[in-house]
Symmetry: C2
Subunit: 333 residues, 2 copies
Amino acid sequence: MKKLINNPADVVKEELEGIALAHADLVKVYYDPNYIVRADAPVKGKVGVISGGGSGHEPMHGGFVGKGMLDAACPGAVFTSPTPDQMLEATKAVNGGAGVLHIVKNYTGDIMNFEMAADLARGEGIEIEAVVINDDVAVEDSLYTAGRRGVGLTVLTEKIVGAAAEKGLPLKKVADLCREVNAAGRTMGMALTSCTVPHAGKPTFDLPEDEMEIGIGIHGEPGRKRMKLKSADEITEMLIEPVISDLPFKSGDDVLLFVNGMGGTPLIEQYIVYRKAAEICKKHGLKVVRSLVGPYITSLEMAGISITLLKMNDEYVKLWDAPVLTPGMRWGI
Amino acid sequence: MKKLINNPADVVKEELEGIALAHADLVKVYYDPNYIVRADAPVKGKVGVISGGGSGHEPMHGGFVGKGMLDAACPGAVFTSPTPDQMLEATKAVNGGAGVLHIVKNYTGDIMNFEMAADLARGEGIEIEAVVINDDVAVEDSLYTAGRRGVGLTVLTEKIVGAAAEKGLPLKKVADLCREVNAAGRTMGMALTSCTVPHAGKPTFDLPEDEMEIGIGIHGEPGRKRMKLKSADEITEMLIEPVISDLPFKSGDDVLLFVNGMGGTPLIEQYIVYRKAAEICKKHGLKVVRSLVGPYITSLEMAGISITLLKMNDEYVKLWDAPVLTPGMRWGI
């Protein structure tokens, strides 16, 4: 295992210490339980928006904490759900009196722990809404998840919903918007290589030198199919066509096209995939009104990509363009 | 070779097509010869700032084209110097009548071709200044370079000098500032793994599973030493101590601390390195007034990091904080 780490047991703690030092102007970090909150939390009268999940997907979620996006993030151990006490403390830390939204990716452990945290928070008098993100069209109902997994759309949802909360919308409206955005987007990913969880010390799965896996999950969960490596254009088509047909996206739709690097894939390759994805969108009559290209939801050093499409409207475009000031996404401020 | 590409010969062209599609609001891309210019170029009365070099280091340089940073970038083939005709056409495209600054990383081919382009541009009546970036303390005068190589400091220089040009400073002042910034920064990098140039089809070098290379160049040029893999803390110390002693940085100095991922290194590891680097800065009495963490100057999918320190003053801080709107660096707009 070749990694820039000290002790596998200290990876998340030391990462958080690095984030705290590098971004002291944007976020505050708390330990035992671990959570990251925006520097000015709690913002009085504003709905708090929090998310969380296993570490190893950086910049998501901790890198999205700040003005205009998340109020807090709860990082679990690598590829492991955070605990209810993390979520409860984060919820209390960002409660400005207007309630708190939990954005939860659809994994059994995340759901269970966020539900428990919500119950505990309600017990302390905090109004909670929870929305589950489930955008991955690759696999439904597996050993690992009930329903579709939550993947790339989470990034877009956190930006749009975070902007709505920043504008001062009430909890019910923010939560409804979150559900709508989740319903309007789909994702599929693939891997060229596995990644290695520090604690495990060896690759999560083996993939021969001439093979790839289509439909992979962000923790290396099995996808749809293993096959011989194909060209970037063929792979792009194999990812985006199921995304388009699943919602379905229809001719005339405005979309946000998000090509995401899984961690070990160079940006040069992400743009090659973007190029083909944009061409396929055009062929289907989809108008790409906003774009995002880069490693925003990763799987450690896994080589691969995912493609997310989100159906856009004027409201979503305005919220997408709204100012954001976080370590991992920053514009307009 | 596992890559998301079509034909190795088309990698740069298709990447540029992707950039043009994804960032049409920020940049324009020209082909044969290839160059990227900011969407509103040429800006009348403003000094044009251009850079360039081999592809494979994305987002540098093409990702830094836009308001407040570069006016143009010239991408060569992967790890190969761009040609004088690219540089000449880019220079002409961004010439707003106030002259053009060429920011050149210290590699023999880059220097030679930028010199030729400068001569040709001067022949067409454009005033040119050129500044060579040479911040890599690892190796001096090798088979590959005369003097120190140009690496991570290039990113910081392009931001600071681009902001100065945006403010309307004249060519001579912009060029002098560029020389000053270059003199005030140092870098050292290391690799855990090699990368594979698409045309070559196999790794640039071999590095056993339990070894690393300290002082590696961004094209895989030999570093100072190969040795058994060490802890992140030990590696950080081996990189930053030579950086500090080379300039030297002294107790009381304000610095920008830049931890850069080489492409295949997860952000989680970059923050672990940042944490130790910040601690060592503190021990030396250096005050970290600005930070940058992320993959900004990469070597395809190479796993590794580099650490850059730049001595800051009030002017540099203001220029660093100034608005920037490029695909790869964006704030304040």
